[in-house]
Each structure stands twice: as structure tokens, then as C-alpha cells.
Symmetry: C2
Subunit: 337 residues, 2 copies
């Protein structure tokens, strides 16, 4: 059984191949009756257009690349699925690529990827979305791209993000509301813009409630488990350790949990721990983490949607900001419980 082509469909429907092409691409100027007839034949023959021929003739690949570097598998998979879902709806394909380089090398890695795949556009996740080199390289090629998450680089391209600052503020206020006054904070990777935002929100909440900001309660982490473990150990080794620790993401919060367990510190009775992201890990550690739910899937879906809009209309759509919410689980309680 030979694979069906547009010719088979055209013949069966009694129209020219161009008309079939019009119907398939939702182009105007096709009579409803004709459109339906063609669609019926397409279905009957189980016809699927050849991606290669489409790309070759149309001079576009119908391919979008999702680039990431993020080590958190749970986050990555959520993002992948969100982007894929949107692509599938538009008959685009998603190509995922984990980057490894840095700086100039990273920029070359990404342009090389685009050269090879001929991707029509990119969805760029943090921290790649914050690399000046990457943005510049993409710009030079005038490659359409969207960024996920906020960014300090001003750029005309749209992005999809959430309000990390206010989310961190809310979480901190929640801890304060429980009665905590000495709260430790673990910063995220310094190259992630979100790290600064989250710290900012944390400080705002302290300020609002007239709690002095103590720099010795702030540790530098790298968004990975081990860094949270290390930071947790240090915070808990302080002469007067905090009664609560807010880590900038769940992986690091899990590290803090482990540090506490090592020391026989009971959670949440003796120490409250909060995370950020609400990934899978938040539910698999003990006790389950209080955290901020970040809508990774939806952010990726929205970002991909923005990119597709750009590709289809050459216009620049408005950025999208999505909501978050606190998820209160078992790792937080009033101090000295």
C-alpha cells in the first residue's frame, strides 16, 4: 500500500492539488462545499501531508526547538509536555535539546542546532533566556524566539512568566503569619533572574512586617539538591538557627529537610521548611513540602503559543503572566510547636 499524496486526494475529490493545499492550510477563498468534500476525502484516505515536502516548498520547517539547561527533570518534563501540547494542536513538531555550553560556546551550540534542524523558532527557558550571548546570537539571525520566565534583558520578544517576587513575598508572609520571626533563606542560582526576584519578595515581606533583614540567614544555593543540603547544614549550625527556612526551589528545600533529619531536628515542630515550584519532589519527601505552585506546564504552553503567533503573523504578541498559588503541606507550622 503506497503512501497517499496530495494528488490522490485531489483526484478523489475532483479538484486541483492546490485546492487541497488551501483546505489543509486553512486558507481563505474555498467554497464551504468544496472544503468539506476535500476534508471528507482526506479522512477517508487517511491522508497525512508530507512534512518534508511542506517544509521544502514552503521554506519553513514546522519545527520548534525547546532549549533548556535546567537540571531538574521534573520541571523539564512539565515544560516539555506543555510545549508539545501546543505544538501538536498546530501541526508543528517540537524538538527538545539540552544545552551544555556556556557563554559564547552556548550561543554557538544553539545557532548550530538551528542550522541543522532549520527550526522556525525557539522556546528558551531559564537560565538560557537570560544569557546576553544567546539573545544576541538569536537576534543577529533574526530568529523568532520566546522566553519563559522573567528577565532583566529588555527585548522586544514576548515571554510567558509568573510573578516570582510576589509569590515569594506571599510565602514569606505565610511563614510570618505562622509566627516565625527568624527565617532563613536559600538563594537560587545566581545566573537565574528568578533567584533575585524571589529574594526580593522575601525581603519585602520582612520589611512589611518590621522584621530586620539578617544577611547571615541568607545562603547562596544553586537550585540543586546538594546545594540545599549544604546551605541547610550551615543555617542549622548557626549559633541561633532560624525557626523556618525558605528555599528558592523544591530541590533545595528537600536538601534542607535532609540536613534537618541528619541533625535529628523535627519538622515542622522544630523547623519549618518551605520550597518553591511544586514539582514532584515536593510530594515525595517527608514531610511533604509547603511550596509555591508554579504552573510550568501552562507557562510552556503559553510561551509556545506566543511563538506560534509570531510565526504565523509576523506580529509581536503581548507577554503573558500566569498565576501561582501557595500549597500548604506538612513541612510548615508555628514555631516551637
Amino acid at each position: 500500500m503506497q503512501r497517499k499524496t496530495i494528488n490522490d486526494v485531489a483526484k478523489a475529490a475532483g479538484v486541483a492539488i492546490k485546492t487541497v493545499s488551501r483546505v489543509l492550510n486553512n486558507e481563505p477563498n474555498v467554497r464551504d462545499e468544496t472544503r468539506e468534500r476535500v476534508l471528507a476525502v482526506v479522512k477517508e484516505l487517511n491522508y497525512h501531508p508530507s512534512q518534508s515536502a511542506r517544509s521544502l516548498a514552503g521554506n519553513r520547517s514546522y519545527l520548534i526547538a525547546l532549549v533548556y539547561e535546567n537540571p531538574s527533570a521534573n520541571y523539564v518534563v512539565d515544560v516539555q509536555h506543555g510545549a508539545m501540547a501546543r505544538c501538536r494542536e498546530q501541526r508543528f513538531q517540537l524538538f527538545v535539546h539540552q544545552c551544555s555550553g556556556r557563554g559564547e560556546e552556548l550561543a554557538r551550540e544553539i545557532t548550530g542546532l538551528v542550522d541543522q534542524t532549520r527550526a522556525d523558532g525557539l522556546v528558551v527557558t531559564p537560565p538560557l533566556s537570560e544569557s546576553a550571548e544567546v539573545i544576541e546570537a538569536l537576534d543577529r539571525r533574526s530568529l523568532p524566539f520566546v522566553r519563559m520566565a522573567p528577565n532583566e534583558i529588555r527585548h522586544r520578544t514576548p515571554y510567558a512568566d509568573m510573578d516570582d517576587e510576589s509569590a515569594a513575598r506571599e510565602m514569606t508572609e505565610y511563614l510570618i503569619g505562622l509566627g516565625h520571626r527568624s527565617i532563613g533563606f536559600i538563594r537560587g542560582h545566581p545566573e537565574h533572574f528568578a533567584s533575585g526576584q524571589r529574594l526580593k519578595g522575601f525581603r519585602q515581606a520582612l520589611h512589611k512586617h518590621h522584621i530586620p533583614f539578617d544577611p547571615s540567614y541568607v545562603m547562596q544555593g544553586l537550585f540543586v539538591f546538594e546545594s540545599g543540603l549544604e546551605a541547610g547544614r550551615q543555617l542549622l549550625a548557626l549559633p541561633k538557627p532560624p525557626t523556618a527556612i525558605f528555599a528558592s526551589n523544591d530541590d533545595m528545600a528537600a536538601g534542607v529537610l535532609m540536613a534537618a533529619h541528619e541533625l535529628g531536628i523535627e519538622i515542622p515542630a522544630q523547623l519549618s521548611v518551605a520550597g518553591f515550584d511544586d514539582t514532584y519532589i515536593a510530594r515525595t519527601v517527608w514531610p511533604q513540602l509547603t511550596t509555591v505552585h508554579q504552573p510550568s506546564y501552562d507557562l510552556a504552553y503559553a510561551a509556545t503559543d506566543l511563538l506560534l503567533q509570531m510565526l504565523n503573523s509576523r506580529a509581536t504578541p503581548k507577554p503573558v503572566r500566569l498565576g501561582y498559588h501557595l500549597v500548604c503541606r506538612a513541612s510548615t507550622a508555628a514555631p516551637g510547636g
Copy 2:
């Protein structure tokens, strides 16, 4: 700057486009001198062949689809990266797809995917690799595919796997070696062939050491965290609970850990817990899990390699079996410690 085509290269090198094509595809019958000249021009012009044109003319897509259903993000990402690595080496592209259907519907989902993407072949992961419907559908289309992990379906296609049975036996013997005599076991998803293999290994070890097999110590799980939590609760609620629990994967073992924590049972002093897979979760729970290291990345790499061999030579390569090893961490100890 217009994109370079094969014509530009041919002109610059003073040869016919067909010769350039030969060089790029490593075809024989090109003089070394000519080959090098072409290669030099390719590099100089930074020429990358158009995937679409290649596919269209050559009637193959240079695209491999990786299909999975597995909910464990950590496993999935490892597998993705392994498959990608091999693809990249061969200038193939990897397209990842998470399946959602079941039975006949699943088979239709996959064939539809192939219809749309024109993938040259598939890497099929469990439990999809064990679905008779899927295998049959793929066969009917005579689509090249490889399976990851063992399988009870006899089929001429190759696969890459590890010896789950003997790994489970080793882990059980390790627990027995620590002094455990009443060991609970949590089965994996009934549709995964590996579940049966792991149970088999467990029973073999008991038998070898003359420990009677007690069915009430075996719980049915589904390879997900929640099922491990539930099974753990049940095992620990037994009148005479086991002193060790061997869960068929890490996610379920993490669930057991949580069940124990809920009950205030100390690990490993009062209960030993072992997992299987050695995914990220094994290192983020407390205490860190003793588990079997499954080489997911390498298995995916090997499976993809097998597929590429099939695609390039139309021959059927031999299956590949990779090694595993026990990773002893903090969740296991002698009983009644």
C-alpha cells in the same frame, strides 16, 4: 545572507552536486582528493544540508520517535538524553512523544504519530514495548523499532535490556546477608514485564536461602509513589511486619519511607528499605535509598544504536544486555539495629 545550498558547494568546489551528495553521505567511489576538497568547502561555507530536501528526495525522514508512557520524570529524562546523544551522532533527529491511550487506542495513537511525523523508526519503552496491540500495529506497517527492557513477546526485533531478575535476586541476597528473614516485597505495575522478573529474582533468593515465601508479604504496586505509600502502610500494619521492604522501584520505595515516617518507625534501625532504578529520587529522600542502579541512559543509547543499525543495513542486529550494580546507601542495615 541567503542560506547555502548544495549548488553553492558544488560550484565552489568545482564538482557536480551529486558528488557533494556522495561526500556528505559517505558514499563510496569518490577520490580522496575530491572528498577533501568538498569537505573543505562545506566547512568554509558553513553549509548544512536541508533536512526536508533530504527526506523528500531520499524517502526517509531521518527522524526517530521515542515513545513512552512512564510517569517517572527522572527515568524519562535519562532515557531521552541517551537516545538523543546517539541520534545526534548520526545526524538523526529524535522526536519524543508521551502516549496516553491504551490497547487498540494506543496502537492507533502510535501509528497516527508515525503517519504524521514519517518517523523512520521507533524506540519503544515499557510498558508500551509489551503491548501486543502496539507491536502488532508496528509490524503490520513493517516499521522498524527497538524495545527497551525485556519482554515476554517473542519478536524478531532487537532490544536493549538488563537482567532485572538477577538484579532483584542480588538485592534480596544483600538484605538476607544483613540478617533479614522477613522481607516485604512491593510488586511493580502488573503490565510491566519487569515487575514479574523482579519478583522472580526476589523469590529465587528466598528459596536459595531456605526462607519460606510468604504471599502476605507481597503487595501489588503500580510503580508510582502513592502506590508505594499505600503498600508500605499495609505491610507495616501487619501483625508481624517485615524487618525489610524491597520495593520494585525507587518511587515506591520513597512511598514506603513516608509510610514508615508516618508511623514513627526509624530507618534503617527498625526497618530496611530498598528500591530499584537509582533515579534522582533515591538521593533526595531521607535516608538515601539503597537501590539497584539501572543504566537508563546507556540502555536508551544502546537501543537507539540498534535502531540506527537496522535503518542503515536492513539487517537485524543482536539484542544488547547491559550491566547493573547495587548502590548501598543509608536505608538498609541489620535488623533490630
